[in-house]
């Protein structure tokens, strides 16, 4: 084989999935364009957050509100879910039992939901300490940035549920495969955004 096998989560369906493979190429590129618009939104919210760090108006600051332990747990949940989604992508590509694909997807879904639940508990604790979005410019910027990421993870979980439903109804047809490869991009990408959040917001605030 002279051609290098493509490893893109979108393009890597390979020869046995010929139809889905070619349908994927432009869908995946288009999806990358969409993800890049998301990157710009998150990037500018990061910049807004940094400019607002000084605007605490005497309210609670990062060291009063953030907890290292919960930031660490959330980071681990998201990192492991990214890995399990990778395992699901491999199961799809190498046409293993549908059972394994679904098991990996379900583990990913549970980890994603655990992340959201943990984040909501975290926000709840912040509210108890007086860290509400309307308290200061700093808190407004925080609640524009971090829950937007949580909202993305929530939508990704809903999308994953919808795909599981499609697998149940239609089996692994072209549309389902193309959907799974695009969701993989979103899922891994959200993990990258979280790297920025835990580094800049949580660790930067607690350092």
């Amino acid at each position: 084989m002279s051609t290098q096998p493509s490893q893109h989560p979108g393009l890597n369906l390979g020869a046995p999935h010929a139809e889905a493979h070619s349908a994927n190429e432009e869908f995946v590129f288009g999806f990358w364009v969409f993800m890049m618009s998301d990157l710009i939104i998150f990037g500018l919210l990061f910049a807004t957050y940094v400019t607002m760090l000084g605007g605490q108006a005497g309210g609670p600051g990062p060291s009063d509100l953030f907890e290292m332990k919960s930031a660490f747990i959330e980071t681990m949940l998201l990192l492991v879910s990214s890995f399990t989604f990778g395992m699901a992508s491999l199961s799809l590509k190498y046409r293993e039992d549908k059972k394994w694909l679904i098991i990996w997807l379900l583990i990913t879904l549970v980890l994603g939901l655990a992340f959201i639940g943990h984040e909501l508990l975290d926000f709840n604790k912040m509210f108890d300490k007086g860290g509400v979005p309307s308290r200061s410019g700093f808190l407004s910027a925080f609640f524009a940035l971090v829950p937007l990421h949580g909202l993305h993870v929530t939508s990704a979980c809903i999308w994953l549920l919808a795909l599981l439903g499609q697998i149940a109804v239609y089996g692994l047809d072209t549309n389902v495969k193309v959907g799974l490869t695009r969701l993989a991009i979103l899922w891994h990408f959200l993990d990258i955004v979280w790297i920025g959040i835990f580094s800049l917001v949580y660790l930067g605030g607690l350092a």
């Binding site: 493509s6 393009l11 995946v28 590129f29 710009i40 990037g43 910049a47 990192l79």
Partner: protein, 115 residues
């Protein structure tokens, strides 16, 4: 583990891609543990800490792109890579400009707020 048996070549390809994901996961794990560990258990100066956190985040982002999203220098990924690099350039101009202008305003108008 697999329902159908794979041909030898496909099985090898699968093993190498699996290794790819595991290497990426371990690298990401280490690059997460370093900054968290430093912030939690040491008291080195704040500026050094910011440097290490930023560097680890940057490397980890590249690790995620390389091992999880498979964005490499290979020719068939060139378009995706160019799209990402162009978006990062636009983002750098917009973020850099925002920070430059706002902090300039801070220092000129409310010196006490300058960070």
């Amino acid at each position: 583990m697999s329902g159908k048996t794979l041909s030898n070549e496909r099985a090898q390809e699968r093993a190498s891609e699996l290794k790819n994901y595991i290497v990426g996961f371990i690298l990401a794990l280490v690059l997460t543990l370093i900054p968290f560990g430093l912030v939690a258990f040491t008291d080195i100066s704040r500026m050094q800490l910011y440097g290490v956190i930023g560097l680890c985040a940057l490397i980890q982002i590249i690790v995620h792109f390389r091992f999880f999203l498979h964005i490499t220098l290979a020719r068939n990924k060139r378009e995706d890579l160019q799209l990402i690099l162009f978006s990062v350039l636009i983002l750098a101009i917009m973020c850099g400009g925002t920070l430059w202008i706002i902090f300039n305003l801070y220092t000129r108008m409310i010196p006490s707020l300058a960070l």
